[in-house]
């Protein structure tokens, strides 16, 4: 007994957590050994984050016990978790944008020195050095004097990690750390995680990406609908095995895709140039055509102008030069509503900031592109019962899970279901052109396959589809035609069959020029 407790640095015994209408964790017991990388794998809403939120003191379990270093503890706030040397990197970073890296790291535990022997001031210089030393030790290169708003996403994540290390956390929880990163950045991060383990830290990794687990984790607990399915030694398990346990059913990873039958051009983009608010050209002279029945996928590393192309087509940003044609009509000067009615669906990259109104109900969100016309409104009055009816249909058809039904706010739904709601809304518009930016971001394998099937179904119906994704696998799985963007330029357009993954990757990196 005593030996077993020595072995585990963290133990959760029979933990149950209920939310209204759902059991998020059902009698889950896990033990985490000191100095290992322990992965928590599960679909969206399987209860991974909830379980770790309890370890980090954001919730208290309804039943069960938590033991840390052989002692039973009750963690009622994150502060107490920090006292137990537990740290967490959240999916959404919690940093002060206009503070420097060091200021963020020291926030709350500022080292004070006395100026002239009596005037207390915060010793930022000394802290800078400490932060620099820490970042060298674990390969987390960031400039301590830079402000957060100047940093890229991956660097902000490093600041979050440094924040934990500065507080001498020994148990580090990462909540979906790779969701916001590009492929190379993921490599770097996994390397950092390995270094942290070498430095004696215990790491808990919440993720639904199997490859990452295979690469770094020692052991892996699999959750499905709140229940613990199994704990595996990663080295001895295959990814297929893990995937099946996670989903609880056999998976088709390959989506069936009949040969393409191209129709007439639906979208023609000619010499498009877009400037951002600093008058910097982010899209440079890009031209391409998407035909009916075609999935045109733009591959590229984040921030190379793909999203701006989509925004320009949807009418959200101004075109500096060039023209956009929809079904042969020049729509360059049209406003957003007119373009939408003319036949453009758009799944935006940022579902919280752009795609949804979080405090509106699900029904209101689903109708946000239809509310102004019959049957959703008669004259000037909205028809609320039509809203609810329509929402009910889509909930059924797209398996959207909302605790409050059509009248629950979208804010209360899980990220995966929010995404499903957007996908449902945009596909149901049945537009000739559908623009999907990162449609499967943050979703689990099961949901991803579902959305890919939908996309291909629409393509088979003869819709033109513009797919913009950072996931090369997604591009290769779905696309009929692939365009690779780098630094605002479309470097290559090729049939999906005539180009290899490696070649696309090289264009994405700007290595290869045609």
């Amino acid at each position: 007994m005593a030996a077993a407790q020595q072995e585990y640095i963290v133990e959760m015994k029979g933990v149950t957590k209920r939310f209204p209408g759902v059991v998020a964790n059902d009698n889950v017991s896990i033990g985490i050994r000191k100095g290992e990388i322990f992965a928590l794998l599960g679909e969206n809403g399987a209860g991974k984050s909830t379980l770790m939120s309890m370890l980090f003191g954001m919730y208290e379990p309804d039943e069960g016990e938590i033991w840390v270093r052989g002692q039973k503890v009750s963690i009622s706030s994150p502060n107490e978790a920090v006292k137990l040397d537990i740290g967490m990197v959240h999916q959404h970073f919690k940093l002060v944008q206009n503070y420097t890296v060091t200021e963020n790291i020291a926030l709350g535990i500022e080292p004070v020195k006395k100026l002239g022997g009596f005037l207390p001031i915060v010793d930022i210089k000394g802290t800078n050095e400490k932060v620099r030393a820490l970042s060298h030790k674990f390969g987390l290169e960031v400039d301590p004097a830079k402000r957060i708003e100047e940093l890229k996403v991956y660097a902000q994540q490093r600041v979050e990690i440094l924040k934990m290390l500065y507080r001498e956390a020994e148990i580090l929880i990462f909540d979906e750390p790779t969701a916001v990163l590009t492929p190379q950045e993921i490599e770097f991060l996994l390397e950092i995680i390995r270094k942290l383990r070498e430095g004696g830290k215990t790491i808990i990794l919440i993720t639904h990406k199997l490859e990452e687990i295979k690469q770094v984790a020692d052991r892996c607990a699999i959750l499905n609908r709140g229940k613990l399915v199994d704990i595996l030694e990663v080295a001895a398990a295959t990814t297929a095995q893990m995937a099946n346990l996670m989903v609880g059913r056999e998976l088709h990873t390959e989506v069936e895709k009949p040969p393409a039958q191209f129709g007439k051009p639906v979208l023609e983009v000619k010499n498009l140039t877009v400037e951002n608010s600093d008058h910097f050209e982010v899209v440079k002279n890009v031209s391409f055509t998407v035909r009916g029945g075609e999935i045109f996928a733009i591959a590229g590393v984040s921030g190379n102008g793909q999203v701006e192309v989509a925004d320009a087509i949807a009418g959200l940003v101004h075109c500096q030069q060039g023209s956009i044609l929809l079904n042969g009509q020049d729509i360059t000067g049209w406003n957003v509503r007119r373009r939408c009615l003319a036949g453009i669906s758009y799944i935006p990259e940022d579902r919280h900031k752009v795609g949804l109104i979080l405090d509106f109900t699900l029904a209101e969100n689903l109708a946000i592109k239809k509310y102004f016309a019959p049957p959703f409104s008669k004259g000037t009055m909205l028809q609320r019962d039509v809203f609810d009816e329509y929402a009910g249909e889509l909930i059924e058809k797209y398996d959207i899970r909302s605790g409050g039904g059509p009248d629950g706010t979208v804010r209360a739904m899980s990220g995966g279901n929010q995404q499903k709601a957007i996908v449902a809304r945009e596909i149901e518009l049945q537009s000739d052109l559908m623009i999907f930016v990162q449609p499967t971001r943050g979703l689990d394998i099961g949901a991803i396959a579902g959305i890919h099937e939908r996309i291909i179904e629409e393509r088979n119906k003869g819709k033109a589809i513009l797919l913009i994704s950072l996931e090369l696998d997604e591009v290769l799985n779905c696309a009929d035609t692939i365009g690779a963007m780098y630094n605002g330029k479309m470097l290559k357009i090729a049939n999906a069959g005539s180009i290899t993954a490696n070649e696309v990757g090289e264009y994405m990196m700007g290595v290869k020029r045609s």
């Binding site: 209920r18 209204p20 957003v336 009055m381």
Partner: protein
């Protein structure tokens, strides 16, 4: 031990926890807390808080006083309260409309002053008959307020000037320019205010005889109540209301959905200004008969808090403005009968607003201890 600690919040959570009723239970709880706090203060000055509260209600016409002078009664006190309620209701609705569109109209006072002044100058001193003068006063008030509000909206939309800054600046501009005209042209040498407007133009009928009483009759109170209901229907059931709320909650998403963000902001501030204009004419040409130069009405600022207490919900605002108006109306009587200073009434108002400003926190506490899911963190992946 842990369970014992949680018992108390759970008891409260049981009452306040039902999300369905929180829209009413939480404000009531806030009011109760403030009354408790104020009771302590009244006890400290050596008076009986129950008697003080009773006198507040007596002064505002909700309870009968011990004695009345001729032509006076509970009904006349109550009508006085309604007379003061009318501009408060309009002003709080003005704040709420802007707030629903994500905008903060802190210029209600200035818009009221402009509307009141223009109506006074254009209609108040004319010889028009009542049947013509009163509708004209309303029209001038609506138009003046709408122009002032719309101006703030256009400044924001066209030039990206923060509406709070421009509204405060306009407040000063209206205040001083109007003060100049009153002092140089319209001043009554005795009262040092603008000359009284004609009874024909006034929106409150004075000394209306009913039975043995002579009372004030604010003719706009019914329209004001109907307007509150209409506004609720507008926000909940119309296309324009849906767009306005969408813009308020998430302008980026609204734009993405093809809703005109700028147009809706200008519209919301214009509507807000029009309501403020109505508040202005019912205040300066109703509750009062003249304008005091050089000051903005405190009512315009109180209306912000009243709107918050009513959760920016038009129907809620009916009740919150009635509550705040009744307290301030009853305060004079309280000070004269109980001997509690009149300022205590302002303290009561202040306390209620302070606690209602904390209602977000109360809601959060209750929902947390009740085991409800928090807004952020957890259960996402």
């Amino acid at each position: 031990m842990k369970n014992e600690q949680q018992k108390k919040p759970n008891f409260l959570a049981a009452i306040l926890g039902s999300k369905r009723w929180q829209f009413i239970t939480i404000p009531l709880f806030a009011i109760l807390c403030s009354l408790l706090a104020i009771s302590v203060i009244i006890l400290l000055v050596g008076k009986n808080p129950l008697v003080a509260f009773q006198s507040l209600l007596e002064g505002s016409g909700f309870l009968p006083k011990a004695s009345y002078s001729t032509y006076k009664g509970m009904i006349t006190d109550f009508m006085d309260t309604l007379d003061a309620l009318t501009p408060m209701l309009f002003a709080a609705l003005a704040v709420a409309v802007a707030f629903k569109a994500g905008l903060f109209n802190i210029g209600v006072s200035g818009q009221m002053l402009l509307a009141g002044f223009l109506a006074t100058v254009l209609v108040g001193y004319s010889d028009l008959p009542a049947g013509l003068a009163k509708p004209l006063v309303l029209l001038v008030g609506i138009a003046a307020g709408a122009c002032a509000g719309g101006l703030i909206g256009i400044l924001k939309y066209r030039f990206n000037i923060n509406e709070v800054v421009s509204a405060i600046m306009l407040n000063y501009i209206f205040q001083y320019i109007i003060s100049f005209f009153i002092n140089t042209r319209l001043v009554d040498p005795v009262s040092r205010q603008s000359r009284n407007v004609s009874e024909a133009a006034r929106l409150t009928l004075m000394n209306v005889e009913a039975g043995s009483f002579k009372m004030r009759v604010p003719i706009c109170i019914l329209p004001a109540l109907l307007l509150a209901v209409a506004l609720q229907v507008f926000l909940a059931k119309t296309k324009q209301g849906y767009e306005l709320k969408a813009v308020g909650l998430n302008p980026l998403a609204a734009r993405y959905a093809g809703i005109k963000v700028g147009g809706n902001m200008v519209f919301a501030l214009t509507l807000s200004g029009a309501l403020a204009g109505l508040a202005g004419v019912t205040y300066y040409l109703g509750y009062y008969q003249s304008i005091q130069p050089g000051t903005l009405s405190s009512l315009g600022f109180d209306s912000i808090a009243v709107s918050l207490l009513g959760n920016s919900h038009p129907i809620g605002i009916i009740f919150s403005s009635l509550l705040i108006t009744a307290i301030s109306r009853g305060s004079t009587y309280m000070s004269s009968t109980v001997g509690v200073r009149q300022e205590i009434a302002s303290l009561v108002t202040g306390m209620i607003l302070l606690f209602s400003a904390c209602s977000g926190y109360i809601r959060w506490r209750v929902n947390k201890s009740g085991g409800f899911k928090r807004k952020r963190g957890g259960k996402q992946a």
